[in-house]
Symmetry: none
Subunit: 239 residues, 2 copies
Amino acid sequence: MRDSSDKTPIWKAIANALRSDLAEGRYAPGDKLPTEAALADRFGVNRHTVRHGISVLVEEGLVRTRRGAGAFVAATPTDYPIGNRVRFHENLIAAGRRPEKRMLALDERTATIGEAQALQIEAGDPVCAYHGLSLADGQPIAVFESLFPLARLGGITAALKETSSVTQALSVVGIDDYTRASTRLTAVRATATHALLLHVAEGDPLLRSSSLNHSQGGLPVEYGRTWFAGDRVTLTLEA
Amino acid sequence: MRDSSDKTPIWKAIANALRSDLAEGRYAPGDKLPTEAALADRFGVNRHTVRHGISVLVEEGLVRTRRGAGAFVAATPTDYPIGNRVRFHENLIAAGRRPEKRMLALDERTATIGEAQALQIEAGDPVCAYHGLSLADGQPIAVFESLFPLARLGGITAALKETSSVTQALSVVGIDDYTRASTRLTAVRATATHALLLHVAEGDPLLRSSSLNHSQGGLPVEYGRTWFAGDRVTLTLEA
DNA sequence: CTTTCCTATACAACTATACATATCTTATCA
DNA sequence: TGATAAGATATGTATAGTTGTATAGGAAAG
């Protein structure tokens, strides 16, 4: 009887080696791993074998890859508390991450039937549509679309053009405070557009939030829909 | 025509044929043998019969195989003298082989109890850990980890980042000469990580050397552990 | 009947190479 | 200063070839 050595496949050994590197903190979240070619050279194996090993870590959510850019240590999923006051930037800053908001579109149009119902206005009434992208540490986190009823919030479009902060823009048009009236959550598959913006694959799961914010007077001032990248955000519910 | 009286098995005949090819220098060390399919075709036998013959040469250490790549003529084991002055590169160059050193990791951490004892420092004191791979003619020979006490050798990390030569880096921080104070040798089985780096099978025997180098002043300046691929190196003791 | 030798087939694991596609970097020009 | 183009990098995909392993079976020898 020869010693039948219980053998670990090379790809698994590579996955283990990289995983322990991550566990030891050799690479910080967001850091770029060595390129596949460099790792293949280091271990003296073919690039495909390295790719197999890395794919394990991607599968586990420890690593994210971007074609043409590299493989990166996955950022810790952002805990995102949902309460009656949701402020995107504050949450991210509290989590020690660098938030960024990028405006994609800002225009005035008429409300659809569903939107009008949510905002308690008439279908066809003018609204301000604010479309944007939220990032943390340069990584896209969510796509959002906010609708504001122009009848109640004249001048919000111009205000948003300046600040890009919803809270601040609402303040300009006289809404000093607002609270979340309702939040609905569902999981959807990423459309091509959302996938492109969020740097995920088409069909990847997204967390969609539909929320309604009321003014102190109890009237709807904002109807927002947000698509979160499912593997980068964890929503937490407060009591 | 001794078809009826031929009592040597085909696989043994193939082994002999290949062995004499090697003895005649038909293949140089490092050369690739014909593929199993080609040999099977040449001898007019099944691939498994050829594999059996090749496996004999692998047992004898004349041939090394790499899955997916082929069978290669093994390089003769490197004689590696162990004395009070051990310089890796010089030994390999003297043996007519092309040495190469590859840095795997370089970081500063705190010493474990055993490491501290060897280096005559306190447990938890900062050390510089230099992890690397040594190759000869592109073939991995040994994995090593060198520890340097930062209290006595401030700046060694930066120096190693530049030179990758231990002797040179020690010179930068004021250690112009050092000698081996002790060397301990044991045989261990290859872990998955070591097997991966050394291109051996998991569980294969490795030669592990723990050595301590002192400065001229008699203080420990380096505590090194090295894992040699057992079939690729022979350690020799000097008087 | 059992063991050894050899054949046959199929699949898994790894290598080698080429090319496509996305990203990053740098030079260049207006 | 900023925009653009070009080149270098890096990951994604496809194809083919090679060794490793498992299984099954036939033929000859002890």
